[in-house]
Chain length 338, copies 2
DNA sequence: GCATGTTTGTAGATCGGTCTCCGCTTGTAA
DNA sequence: TTACAAGCGGAGACCGATCTACAAACATGC
């Protein structure tokens, strides 16, 4: 039926060619103790000659697969590329390889399938899974979570300082003189599922700052539904309010881009300020020029990978890392028209 | 040292609980022949009760891992998200799972590491590997290549109709009245490594159309060097020519975005037309509004995955699929100022 | 010279599945 | 009744590594 896939060369082939045992070859490739220089050389020559590469499946069955899984909720997210870049950089000089698992739908099943022995450790960006489940997962395989404010037992976290980041945005908008500031955040359903996502923190900060500025009546929290069209509708609703906001603080840059599009479509560009979050590459484009919060996405990815490697090396105490943020002020935010 | 990772439940545990042999359990989970309804039920109950999930590593060692690898050259590429979406959609109702492997550097090593038994098949978007090497790879594991115009023996290809796509862009620009049209394409080094990348075709079409229009003297092929700064410099060089182009046809949208930024920075937005390729989501943004070629990226990804699944089901004849393109005319291209 | 270590290499169990072959029942045709 | 096929379930080899235990060789100290 199917062609005979050229059976690849195994450790036994190498052992035979080098005239040693399989165990010896295994030691050499793992840099294990008990190998004489002479044998190392003969084995390495054989490996070279045959073009041998160890089977990941076989290694994983007994030892490690030397693969780290990075679960990402939606591939299109521009912020994710920062994470991936950072993580990739961190594993670059290790024997580990990064493997991405896009969560098309339910994140639980993607994480499960990663944990099924494919990888030695998992980095995940999943706001929608609950802590107890994660603790359970972490009992089976080392886990580092990104963008979680929870207080875990068995897994590590890397997260931006959303308190400061959102605060900076609000301070900036208020200082510009805005009074009617709206906030666009994730769907209620998502927020309800898990205790503390970054967005939940951002909303809280938004509310607090508004209240502190005596603007409680102007508090306006809109929620996008999944998909771009949901964001467009939310934007349209905001713009159609009897007293529309003069500034919109969007949950993150991808959303802010759609908001900008909506504002532009309404012909009110420059009139209504828009701020985002994540400082993605597009926010820096001169035609977009979006005020945003840099939360060091690349560094987040790198930190997460590094912490995971530490776990693999034996660390058992949990670690939680918080990254500083900095506001990048650009042309999309300016004083309200008087 | 490290905590005892809670050993997960194996097929033997299920067999014991269900009071059957391991082979029987295996048959049930693989839907194999020779299972009575009664046994199926008992086994499924045991699986449910224990929360059993087969180990990917163990399965892969003998049978299949039920994982498909998708190699992507640069994660940030906005076109890639279309591919991933499509591929994900195509495997959604199969037992297969998509796994992404970002090629941070040399694509060869990323592909190798995928082929090391991690996946049952590979989809790759690697213009920089040469055909003989791919043939070799395809002998070990089924391969579908995206964006390749070569004429392979052992692997399949899915590619856009670059001839028509690039032709449409040129026809459009010429019809608008442009005479000095420049083309920005990939570095010479890349083009030299492999025979026919999509970009090579686009360049050829550009040259031909210019010649046909009697504009041979105005032919201007600029090449970007890796990284955004390289593109910026290339754009600056073009704009600084004694007789600068009135239109720039960029190799793809990501590049076109940088070109647009450069044109904007030079204060010549609206004066110089810019066209891209791939019809990425950003090209559709009203603030960008970039004329581009839709080459059905989502469909490409879906086709590739489907073809790979066919291979896994036993097909051995090669297949080559070409996707139609359509030009999306937007505000970034307009008649030259006279 | 002998007991004791230290290197160096190997044998063989093991990981958790898949898959081939084989035997036991049953049903059915001769 | 006998023969044969089809259906069902299990025994056990096997995939390609890792890893523990152990043996052989060699050095060292007294």
């Amino acid at each position: 039926m199917s062609i005979t896939r050229g059976r690849s060369v195994t450790i036994s082939d190498v052992a035979r060619t080098a005239g040693v045992s399989r165990a010896a070859v295994s030691k050499v490739i793992r840099n294990a103790y008990g190998v004489s220089p002479g044998m190392r050389q003969r084995v390495e020559a054989a490996i070279e000659e045959l073009g041998y590469r160890p089977s990941v499946a076989a290694r994983a069955l007994r030892g490690s697969s030397y693969r780290l899984g990075l679960e990402i909720p939606y591939v299109s997210g521009r912020f994710m590329t920062q994470i991936v870049d950072g993580a990739n950089r961190a594993v670059a000089d290790t024997p580990y390889q990064l493997v991405l698992a896009p969560a098309d739908g339910p994140e639980y099943s993607t994480l499960e399938s990663l944990a099924d022995g494919l990888v030695d450790g998992i980095i995940a960006v999943s706001p929608r899974v609950d802590p107890p489940w994660l603790e359970e997962l972490a009992r089976r395989v080392p886990v580092v979570m990104l963008g979680r404010h929870d207080d875990p037992e068995g897994y590590d976290t890397v997260v931006g300082d959303d308190e400061a980041g959102a605060g900076a945005v609000m301070d900036h908008l208020l200082a510009l003189g805005h009074r009617r500031i709206a906030h666009l955040t994730e769907p209620e359903a998502v927020a309800a599922e898990t205790p503390v996502t970054p967005h939940v923190v951002r909303v809280a900060v938004y509310r607090r700052r508004m209240a502190e500025a005596g603007l409680t009546p102007s508090i306006e929290v809109a929620r996008w539904e999944d998909g771009d069209s949901g964001v467009r509708e939310a934007t349209a609703r905001l713009l159609a309010l009897p007293e529309p906001p003069t500034a919109i603080f969007a949950g993150h840059d991808d959303i802010a881009l759609v908001v900008l599009a909506g504002v532009a479509a309404a012909g009110r560009l420059g009139e209504i300020s828009v701020a985002g979050y994540d400082n993605t590459d597009m926010s820096q484009h001169p035609l977009i020029d979006l005020t945003s919060v840099d939360q060091q996405g690349v560094e987040m990815g790198a930190q997460a990978a590094t912490m995971l490697l530490e776990r693999l090396r034996g660390r058992t105490e949990r670690r939680q890392h918080v990254l500083a943020t900095s506001l990048r002020i650009r042309g999309s935010t300016r004083p309200p028209r008087t």
